[in-house]
Symmetry: C2
Subunit: 333 residues, 2 copies
């Protein structure tokens, strides 16, 4: 783990920071060398491939300055783990590149490390390497997650087939609503608002369910840009059209309580992003396997549409008429 | 490869940027899925472990705004490859996380991509995944390099033994002098100055030599923080003292031409950093193997000291007296 290379004297004592915050996260982990070598080494179990995902979380873009350090750390890690989850991979380890502006105090960093420690225990991963640097810009956390998948069993985006059914785990739109609440003037929060904020701050990667989808799903994607935008990626690489029934999009009770249950609120949820649910397509014959995966992993799954010939994603009302969506997620402008 | 998630309209057209700049770097690469899936997959050759290193390059901290885009890209990649080189690993692939401020134009990004393409061809690596984000801060490039090493053959930092000789490849201090030249008022540059700037902008990872050191060296480190600081890391984890003869520190002819050959200039070189040479220790009995590695890979290697009992790093003058060094590299304050 390299130390910050800024030429001004450090605010925190970098050796102290590494020793107190990061080294404990790698202690005793094979191939991490206590963060005391140039690299980390790993070896996949026999018959497995290595799965890699790199993902950055940038202050003001992906998190707010007043988000708790612990949830910032956990969200950074969970976003990368969510990509592994959607592909049916088992997480193993991660590397961390941290660009630190002048503001973090040791107390903030210790809470950051405590968040990582909690998630390491929860998801069975360990820090194996990384570096810290000073930056004149915003705090930027780049996680490279490493996982394993049995040879040839990775579930691809490219695989949706005409006739497949389309599903999504959990509920959609909560995180977007949570962020909107945080962006308002501060005030007393209802329990529904607290729930939505927690969904923004602490997504849950669907790891067990993703692994259970191996062999059952034809295509999967992690919902981060927005349900419609992400299904658009699946449709594009698979060469198909995806139809989504707007009335079927699963909304949480707190989201319905606050935002109502109109077509507008459902199509808003489908373009909000930051959900970290798994959207997937599967043949009708896989329904029993999906029900079993749902039961074994206690994961809510909702049938939201179907795969048709053509291209793009259509949002359909109850009569099957196409609803125009103004903003299809972060990647469509 | 995710697209930028900034909510303001893009300056460049992110789809165009990915399609024109990054997708060609991954085209046809197994496990990269044309950057069109959530993750990348890799599999080490039989009998090999996976070697991982993540490393960030931040504008104003690690490169200058006026450094050419091509050399910025190549330096980012080469810094990470240099860590693999020092450990005896063969590079295979890399992931790229790019935080983009408002300023880069498509022409800049295309030159950036061209730099990566040139280095991919030179070092036998491919882009397999990554993401781009907008940032309100400086341009930040995080590379995660992936390599392979035969099982158990990684050369560690922890391994220096009392009685070992200490060596370094190439010459030391060039990059630091090159940066100092760039930080002066602009003017006409001599060829010596041009050489030193090129050493700052375009380090050469010692990949073939590092692999040739497997079985010959007891310990290795990539010289990035500064020769003395980095040998200090080796001494610390190995539980030994390292003595460096200041007169033996290899200086390039351009550096001697501009900076002279005094004790001061040599100890300055030994604390400048950004060298990306390999410092290593080996038993005297390995001298023949080292000579052979030197010859086969056309790499300059200089004997600069020895490993003794104790701790820390000492810089010794011709009479064996210890020279005090004010600044031991970026990590000592």
């Amino acid at each position: 783990m390299n130390r910050p290379r800024d030429k001004t004297p450090p605010r925190l004592g970098e050796f102290e920071m590494i020793a107190r915050v990061f080294a404990p996260l790698a202690r005793g982990v094979s191939g991490a060398f206590d963060l005391g070598d140039d690299v980390a080494i790993l070896k996949p179990p026999p018959g497995h491939e290595v799965v890699l995902k790199t993902d950055s979380l940038i202050e003001t873009i992906h998190f707010r300055h007043d988000d708790p350090a612990s949830s910032v750390a956990r969200k950074a890690l969970r976003r990368a783990l969510s990509d592994l989850a959607a592909k049916g991979a088992e997480p193993a380890a991660y590397l961390l590149a941290l660009a630190l502006p002048p503001w973090p105090e040791m107390a903030w960093l210790e809470e950051f490390g405590a968040g990582l420690a909690a998630d390491q225990a929860q998801f069975g991963v360990s820090l194996v390497g990384g570096e810290t640097n000073a930056t004149p810009g915003p705090l930027t956390i780049t996680i490279t997650a490493v996982g394993y998948v049995p040879d040839g069993r990775l579930i691809r985006r490219k695989g949706a087939r005409v006739g497949d059914l389309v599903f999504v785990t959990g509920t959609i739109g909560d995180a977007g609503a949570g962020l909107a609440i945080l962006n308002r003037e501060p005030g007393t929060l209802s329990s529904a608002e607290e729930f939505l904020i927690s969904r923004y701050r602490l997504p849950v990667p669907r790891l067990a369910f993703g692994q259970a989808l191996r062999g059952a799903a034809h295509s999967t994607i992690d919902v981060s840009d927005g349900l419609i935008a992400d299904l658009g990626h699946v449709a594009e690489v698979s060469g198909v059209r995806i139809e989504v029934d707007v009335g079927a999009i699963p909304l949480s009770a707190p989201l319905r309580e606050l935002g109502g249950d109109s077509l507008d609120s459902r199509s808003g949820a489908a373009t909000a992003g930051d959900d970290y649910e798994i959207a997937f397509t599967a043949a009708e014959i896989a329904m029993e396997a999906i029900r079993e995966a749902t039961r074994l992993t206690a994961t809510q799954v909702t049938l939201i549409g179907r795969v048709a010939p053509g291209y793009g994603v259509s949002l359909l009302d109850a009569g099957g008429a196409e609803i125009s969506v103004e903003r299809r997620g972060y990647t469509h402008f």
